[in-house]
């Protein structure tokens, strides 16, 4: 009888143990689940088309502003590829206006009968024709959107938004504001000693399309599934000589005067997302 009781007790303990194990195997039902269910995927497998207004933020000689557009296709909700381009107009910066005034005044005092090489001060005409502006920018890029969410404005209006970063190939087209009128006949490669005068050398070597990199960050504020506001900062990093003059002090205008430049632009545009209906996750 004692053996029988012992067997019964052992069986009960075994069952109790198995029950405990079953309990230990219970898991948190939220383990491995996405942070948000039924999330609107505002970007996945959709095109983003953004006409925009662009202005520079750090040009030293000439402001550049204009219109452009961006097209992006998003493979995933957080990765896309695209390209963009802008056509830009130029005006003198406040600093350039001051410098032009000083250059003109000084040149009139120094060269009452016309420019005398080797300068060193440039005339206003020489200054004006060598200073470069930017009339176009372009880039092809990969765009990553790691942050997306919702926000409340005054606890009354609610909207979706995302923050993104982009990077890729950048192109900047530098132009001179006018056709050369001053003498630019001196050859920078053959001139010697103090005869070398950058004021009468060819400055057009710094114009044209410069290839470099582009990085950018931006935000989309979505009014609807298919319409949003885009604000973006882009930096085109290319080698250039924006002043079009001698930089390294060797009195020769060569490609060695071109240095790495950050051309930072701010863009505001309206983003249209197609197809107009966003997918919803499970």
């Amino acid at each position: 009888m004692r053996n029988h009781k012992l067997r019964s007790l052992t069986l009960a303990v075994a069952l109790l143990g198995s029950a405990g194990m079953a309990s230990a195997e219970r898991r948190n039902p939220l383990d491995g689940q996405p942070a948000i269910r039924y999330r609107k995927e505002m970007r996945r497998l959709r095109f983003e088309i953004t006409p925009s207004f662009t202005t520079d933020t750090n040009q030293q000689y000439k402001h550049a502003f204009g219109v452009g557009g961006t097209v992006v296709f998003h493979f995933l909700d957080y990765v896309g590829v695209g390209f963009e381009g802008e056509y830009l107009f130029n005006t003198n910066t406040a600093l350039e206006t001051q410098v032009r005034k000083a250059v003109g005044t000084e040149a009139n005092l120094r060269y009452p009968g016309g420019y005398k090489t080797p300068g060193p001060n440039p005339t206003l005409a020489q200054h004006d024709q060598r200073v470069l502006g930017i009339n176009a920018t372009m880039s092809a890029f990969v765009q990553v959107t790691p942050f997306a969410g919702k926000f409340s404005l005054f606890s009354a209006a609610f909207a979706r938004y995302d923050l993104y970063a982009k990077g890729g190939l950048g192109l900047v087209n530098y132009v001179q504001s006018s056709k050369p009128t001053a003498d630019q006949s001196q050859n920078a490669k053959t001139c010697t000693g103090t005869v070398c005068d950058p004021n009468i050398q060819n400055t057009s070597i710094y114009t044209g399309l410069k290839v470099g990199g582009m990085i950018g960050v931006g935000v989309h504020l979505y009014f609807t599934d298919w319409l949003g506001l885009q604000l973006e900062l882009r930096d085109y990093i290319v080698k250039a000589d924006r002043g079009g003059g001698d930089v390294n002090g060797d009195r020769r205008l060569t490609n060695s005067d071109a240095t790495t430049q950050n051309n930072i632009f701010f863009t505001a545009g309206l983003t249209f997302v197609l197809p107009p209906k966003a997918r919803i996750t499970r």
């Binding site: 219970r26 060193p120 942050f147």
Partner: protein, 307 residues
């Protein structure tokens, strides 16, 4: 005796079986983990009456609304089963409580900022801000920065190319009394994995600063200016915890600065500071981008509920 043994065995088996089946039953009563439902359409049927507390919990994994709230009834308002007297389930909104409270807390923010709009001199600012929150959205603050200049290449290049050196000043320090307001708050998911809270604020302030000439000729004496400045700005707080935040901001410091005159060389003694009426006065917008790490004190807070 034998009969007693059988009864003991039976009782032991019953107890054991009960202990085994009990937890399994509890397991079965747990709500299905989200995502493991086989056929759950997005709009969950939440229009039914509240479930019996002794019954299995209902699946409440329906889609959240745009506002982050969940309506008790969304799809079938006409269903009279959901009525509670004059109150209907559709009248009940479940609003998540505000995740972070700032009311009557102090925020200490060591900051670094850098000027972004000046192409001749870059100014680095090292300082701090102390904010006291009068409400969840309104804060009063004190800000101070030590400023360090960095001459940029363009200043030298202008000298080489155009034989012109523009008048520039360095800034030593600034201090302000700030008022900030939080009109926007939100949250975001990082790769749909981590949910973080953030808010955006607008700010205005008034205070003073000190600037000094950087003379074209380093041998010349420099004038020092004490100026009144105002500023406006926008910024954002990203909450890492209930007391630790990351700041990023843009501020535009507005002031009228006084510069070295262009014709200083024509003065009787060019090395001496010229008369103040010859100073060149200009309105300056010193736009800076800054970052900071904010710490809220006290580090915790309590929710208050109306009775």
């Amino acid at each position: 005796m034998k009969r007693s043994d059988v009864r003991a065995t039976f009782i032991a088996l019953c107890v054991g079986a009960g202990l085994v089946v009990g937890p399994l039953t509890l397991h079965a009563q747990e709500p299905t983990p989200p995502g493991e439902e086989t056929t759950s359409p997005p709009p969950a049927d939440t229009s039914s009456p509240p479930p019996d507390v002794s019954g299995p919990p209902t699946d409440v994994s329906g889609p959240p609304t745009d506002t982050g709230t969940v309506k008790a009834t969304e799809e079938k308002p006409a269903d009279s089963k959901g009525e509670l007297g004059s109150l209907q389930w559709k009248d009940i909104l479940v609003v998540p409580r505000r995740p972070i409270l700032k009311y009557h807390r102090v925020e200490l923010i060591p900051t670094y900022n850098v000027s972004v709009a000046n192409t001749l001199v870059r100014t680095h600012g090292f300082g701090g801000i102390v904010n006291y929150f009068l409400s969840e959205t309104l804060a009063l603050g004190i800000e101070a920065n030590y400023l360090q200049p960095q001459l940029l290449d363009h200043y030298t290049i202008r000298g080489i190319q155009d034989r012109v050196l523009p008048s520039i000043n360095r800034y030593y320090w600034n201090a302000s009394l700030d008022f900030s307001y939080v009109p926007v708050y939100g949250k975001f998911a990082l790769f749909n994995r981590y949910i973080l809270q953030w808010e955006a604020y607008i700010e205005a302030g008034i205070g003073g600063m000190e600037s000094q000439w950087i003379s074209r000729n380093p041998a010349d004496k420099n004038a020092t200016n004490f100026l009144v400045q105002g500023h406006i700005g926008v910024g954002t707080r990203l909450f890492l915890t209930k007391w630790l935040v990351i700041h990023a901001y843009l501020k535009d410091y507005l002031f009228a600065d006084k510069y070295e005159p262009a014709d200083r060389a024509l003065q009787p003694d060019p090395t001496a500071v010229p008369p103040t009426n010859t100073f060149s006065s200009r309105f300056v917008q010193n736009v800076v981008f800054g970052v900071g790490v904010g710490m809220f004190l006290p580090t915790s807070f309590d929710y208050k509920y109306t009775r």
